[in-house]
């Protein structure tokens, strides 16, 4: 089955092509095409996973082109990591396809939406299967394109248009780093292949300085895609896209691509102390930084977006701490519980037609499916014991502790406290208390097509944790590392601390927003400046607007003037001269024989004068 892994991304591509051609005619049936295609992908991915479970790594390469003595290859590989990611991506994509059928019902561009989803899924699966950097880069950009098209899906809204452009440009900034890093690696190792690069790292062909440089440059690409500080500002804005898109792309899969890339190139990072440190610090800082912003946002999707950034920071922290397994584990559990949270949020938005949590409330009874499922997701992300998030977060905390960076460990613990607080702030404001929304009367549970995927994700948000636990063995770890995995016995108190902080966060949220024992503005009234700082996302957007954006727009305006007045001026001079000469010439050609005669005489006279002056010597 593994030699057929290349068909996995092919199904969504077919769905994309078919929907592009016939989508307008099929209308509602477009959804079935998309769902069927991703289901086939999922089945194929499961087949590949089964094949990899019983076998070893499979890789197939073909010569793509030869330039001089350099051969570029294209192909696919099935490693433990690949096969795992294929299933996660295909599964979440399939569920989101089903969910969208209900969420997007009645939209004018329903089939276009499914076509774009197909394109995105194809690109993401292709990225995962790539055995070399060049191919990965191509799919990396295609993923960005899919994200751009879907964020800007409601392109008639100014905010959506701006958000799509922002996402594309911000991630492009990171991609430049990735591109330079990739070319440097190619220059040094004469190959884009992951295996060749790792071999070069291993035998010292790649100097330590170069290893650090390329690793950090490629990490910049991952920063852009995974919304890490300081290139994170596009991710909250990307919430302008339809909610299923936020769930699939901006929570579960695409933003995890950065984490995946670092994981796929892990031997390169492991070889460089400085690169690992950079990854860990950026991850840790992002985790706490985004979590603090998440505390005060009032848009349900933005809270989840900042939470995503924070969780991606966790994954980076795990990678930087040397625990590749913990990062992939958290990536998997996060994909499930965050997709669940987003889909549940979409269901809420579908019901109350607002995204402002201040206008929600008391939805628990009105949404008997969504509310408990959201609670499951919130418990999972908060790291409450027995839920998936608990195990993966515990793994990351243990990795950070084992790595010896105490500061990063406590940062991560603090971020865990904030996470459970803002998640339950969200939960209490949206589902508990009295209804504050105008559409109280029409708030209703979502159709089954939307509830079904959420139920599946809800089950996974609990069950996914049990593939790697301290009690039942670390299946995922052993499998990802081909049996060489040895689980360092983490100090037992870490799990206790994690449990305490998550429960403390929940308790605090309950006191403030559930029981209202503590007034809501207790802290914001005491530190109004701090509150404002968080509400405005640390003024990072404003900082960029007044520095980078202002500088670039100044330069572009300057160049526009140069273009308009200098370059266009020169062109106008040339064209003006020619057309003036032409109109002068054409004035002479007026059909009057007398004028022609006069011109002839004038010419003759000039010739005679020249002849007289030179004495005919010039002839």
């Amino acid at each position: 089955m593994m030699n057929l892994a290349w068909v996995v991304p092919l199904f969504p591509l077919c769905s994309f092509a078919l929907l592009l051609l016939f989508g307008r005619k099929w209308k509602k049936a477009s959804a079935y095409v998309g769902i069927a295609a991703t289901l086939l992908s999922l089945l194929a991915a499961l087949g590949v996973l089964a094949g990899r479970l019983g076998g070893t790594t499979y890789e197939a390469n073909w010569t793509w082109m030869e330039i001089g003595d350099v051969t570029l290859t294209a192909g696919f590989s099935v490693t433990a990591l690949n096969a795992w990611m294929l299933v996660v991506v295909a599964l979440v994509s399939w569920l989101v396809h089903i969910y969208s059928q209900g969420y997007m019902a009645g939209d004018e561009r329903f089939s276009t939406f499914y076509a774009y989803l197909g394109l995105f899924t194809f690109a993401m699966l292709g990225l995962v299967l790539s055995p070399n950097l060049l191919q990965a880069y191509i799919f990396w950009e295609l993923v960005g394109l899919g994200s751009f098209l879907l964020i800007g899906f409601y392109f008639y809204k100014e905010e959506a248009k701006a958000a799509a452009k922002k996402a594309f440009i911000m991630t492009r900034i990171g991609d430049v780093g990735f591109f330079i890093g990739m070319l440097l690696l190619f220059w040094q190792t004469k190959s884009f292949d992951y295996d060749d690069i790792f071999r070069a790292v291993g035998d010292g062909t790649l100097s330590p300085g170069m290893t650090t440089l390329t690793a950090i440059l490629i990490f910049i690409g991952a920063i852009g895609k995974s919304g890490q500080f300081p290139l994170h500002t596009w991710l909250p804005d990307a919430m302008e896209g339809p909610t299923p898109v936020s769930a699939l792309i901006h929570a579960a899969t695409m933003v995890a691509a950065g984490v995946y890339l670092v994981a796929a190139l892990f031997p390169l990072y492991e070889a460089s102390e400085a690169a690992m440190m950079t990854v860990a610090v950026i991850g840790g800082v992002t985790a706490i930084f985004a979590a603090t912003i998440g505390l005060v946002q009032t848009d349900i999707k933005r809270v989840l977006a900042y939470s995503t950034i924070s969780q991606l920071g966790y994954m980076m922290l795990a990678l930087g701490s040397g625990s590749y397994v913990a990062a992939i584990f958290h990536l998997t559990t996060h994909a499930f519980f965050k997709a669940l949270l987003f889909l549940a949020a979409g269901s809420v938005i579908h019901a109350v037609h607002t995204q402002n949590i201040e206008e929600m409330g008391g939805l628990w009874r009105r949404m008997p499916w969504t509310a408990p499922l959201f609670l499951v997701g919130a418990l999972s992300i908060s790291g409450v014991p027995l839920f998936a998030g608990f195990f993966s977060k515990d793994e990351i905390l243990a990795a950070a502790w084992a790595n010896g960076s105490v500061e990063l460990f406590w940062l991560a613990v603090a971020a865990a406290l904030l996470t459970s607080f803002y998640m339950f702030r969200l939960f209490f404001l949206v589902f508990v208390g009295e209804a504050r929304h105008r559409h109280d009367g029409d708030a209703h549970e979502a159709p089954m097509s939307m509830v079904g995927p959420m139920v599946v994700l809800g089950i996974l948000s609990v069950a996914a944790g049990y593939i790697q636990t301290p009690w039942f063995g670390s299946f995922l770890g052993e499998w990802l590392t081909d049996g060489t995995y040895h689980h360092e016995a983490a100090p037992g108190w870490i799990a206790v601390v994690a449990t305490i902080v998550s429960l403390a966060g929940i308790l605090l949220a309950w006191l403030m927003y559930g029981k209202r024992a503590v007034p809501r503005d207790w802290l914001s009234a005491r530190a109004p400046h701090g509150y404002e700082l968080l509400r405005r996302h640390y003024y990072i957007d404003d900082l960029y607007r007044w520095t980078v954006v202002a500088l670039v727009s100044f330069i572009s305006r300057l160049l526009a003037y140069v273009d308009r007045y200098l370059v266009e001026g020169l062109v106008r001079l040339v064209t003006g001269t020619i057309s003036a000469a032409a109109s002068a010439g054409s004035r002479g050609q007026n059909g009057q024989a007398q004028t022609y005669g006069a011109v002839t005489v004038a010419g003759l006279a000039i010739l005679v004068v020249i002849f007289a002056l030179t004495g005919g010597n010039w002839l």
Binding site: G591, Q592, A593, Q594, G597, A598, V601
Partner: protein
């Protein structure tokens, strides 16, 4: 010296004719000017026949021919002009532009 005087007269006459032929809008005047230019040439012929390097009768004969041809030309020209005038009620050369438009 005598030859130069004749040639100068012929030159002046020719230039007046040329100027008139190229600038005047009235067709009758243009025809008269063409006659002036032809007569300037005739003066040249006769002057060279009398005072030139090889005096002889050829120049006189040519002058007579030219006068005869000029008479014929004037007849044809005036006939064409009258036909034109009948059609367009004008004798201005710049209005003879039917082919242009």
């Amino acid at each position: 010296m005598t030859l130069s005087a004749y040639l100068a007269l012929a030159l002046i006459l020719f230039c007046i004719g040329l100027y008139g032929a190229l600038t005047k809008r009235n067709t009758v005047i243009v025809l008269i000017c063409i006659e002036l230019m032809l007569n300037a040439v005739n003066i040249n012929f006769v002057a060279f026949a009398k005072y030139g390097a090889h005096p002889g009768v050829h120049g006189h004969v040519f002058a007579l021919f030219a006068i005869a041809v000029a008479a014929a030309e004037a007849a044809v020209g005036l006939a064409a002009l009258i036909a034109f005038y009948r059609n367009r009620k004008t004798v201005q050369v710049d209005e003879a532009n039917s082919l242009k438009h």
